[in-house]
């Protein structure tokens, strides 16, 4: 819309004035956000606050990927959606929420199930990828695609009262496979549908994912060592930060002699795919 890549528009100055005041961000940082494209995979509990804050803070282009529709049981945590959008496409509902908040944000809605065939095409052209998905198979898929396309990956997860947050494949740090070379047995993996989640838990982690994206886009992240943030509603203190290993030379995908050179069948690799859902729980 006529936006110049090295100048802020008058309406951008008005909207982002409180961020322009911060030396760490300033005009330079705000321009970096505006000229960046971020892909958020999953518009559920994590993707809701993450996408809202990224759009609010001024990321110029946001991609959203989801194949699901909004359900009433989502609304206790998925605050980008609405009662009225129940039954409709999540990415369309999320795009509506973002445009209500910030019409300056360009939103690309990918209303598909991300898989080995389309993942690289979807990720191509983005500067950062956010993993806000809900199953192990898709987490390995997105990780491997990010390694192949050399994209940093902001990975969050939340189940019950606990959450985890890590930036993978960035600045000599590990990828998801470096930490978890073998997938967990399918019967040990718990999803939010099966085991529940307190609404605000993905809220906290998803907001922090948006913060990690800002750190990546503005350059601050380059000075930080690889770490994983652990969060729990039920522990004291609620947050702990764990020091992580570097990239593993023997990693199957990001190592020195990778054996995984193309995306594979991740449902087979994990013994369970993104559509293997437990039945809804009833009283």
């Amino acid at each position: 819309s006529g936006s110049n890549s090295d100048r802020l528009l008058r309406e951008e100055v008005r909207r982002y004035s409180r961020q322009l005041l911060i030396p760490e961000i300033g005009i330079k940082g705000q321009l970096k956000l505006r000229n960046s494209a971020v892909l958020v995979v999953g518009t559920g509990g994590l993707g809701s606050p993450c996408a809202l804050y990224l759009a609010a803070m001024g990321v110029g282009t946001l991609g959203l990927v989801d194949h699901d529709t909004v359900d009433h049981s989502n609304l206790h945590r998925q605050i980008i959606h609405t009662e009225a959008s129940c039954g409709t496409s999540k990415v369309v509902s999320a795009r509506t929420g973002l445009s209500r908040l910030n019409p300056l944000c360009r939103v690309r809605a990918h209303d598909v199930l991300i898989d080995s065939l389309n993942a690289k095409e979807i990720l191509q052209g983005y500067d950062v990828v956010v993993d806000a998905t809900d199953n192990a198979a898709t987490r390995y898929l997105i990780n491997d695609a990010c390694v192949m396309l050399k994209l940093p990956l902001v990975s969050g997860s939340a189940v019950r009262l606990d959450g985890q947050l890590t930036v993978y494949n960035y600045n000599g740090g590990p990828c998801y496979r470096c930490l978890f070379p073998k997938p967990p047995p399918a019967d040990t993996v718990a999803s939010c549908s099966e085991t529940g989640v307190l609404g605000v838990v993905p809220g906290v982690i998803g907001s922090l994912q948006a913060m990690e994206v800002v750190k990546l886009l503005t350059g601050r992240k380059a000075s930080e060592a690889a770490s994983m943030l652990l969060f729990s509603y039920s522990s004291q203190p609620h947050f702990r930060s764990i020091k992580l290993r570097s990239r593993k030379a023997t990693c199957a995908v990001c190592g020195d002699t990778p054996t995984v050179r193309e995306l594979v069948d991740y449902a087979a690799f994990c013994g369970s795919g993104p559509n293997d859902r437990a039945p809804d729980w009833n009283i």
Binding site: G45, N135, R160, D162, Q164, P184, S191, T195, L244
Partner: protein
């Protein structure tokens, strides 16, 4: 009082979270272990410690949700004193007195 280096007894805290606690007797999240060594030159390696926890802490019938092939099963992170155990040598890490070892399930939900 500072612990002398020649003691034969190691105090090690095992912590379980992120869902791991559901594999543990009484769903405990923290168990302090006092482990006698034959003498002070016998090291306690992580591999032996994991096998020991499988017997002492893990609930009946859930051992193979904790241990697989002499290590923890895939999907469990091991954190030694707030550091990813891979940095510390994984199964070859030699436990020191007052170490804190955490076992945390990877979460996949969102």
């Amino acid at each position: 009082r500072p612990v002398a280096h020649d003691e034969k007894c190691l105090t090690i805290t095992a912590m379980y979270s992120g869902g791991m606690e559901r594999l543990i007797k009484d769903e405990k999240t923290e168990v302090v272990h006092k482990i006698e060594r034959k003498d002070d030159s016998t090291p306690l390696m992580m591999e032996e410690f994991i096998a020991y926890l499988g017997k002492t802490d893990v609930a009946e019938g859930k051992q193979d949700m904790f241990i697989q092939e002499n290590s923890v099963r895939p999907g469990i992170m091991v954190i030694i004193n707030m550091v990813d155990w891979e940095v510390e040598g994984e199964l070859e890490y030699e436990l020191k007195n007052n170490d804190c070892v955490e076992f945390i399930s990877t979460l996949h939900g969102g």
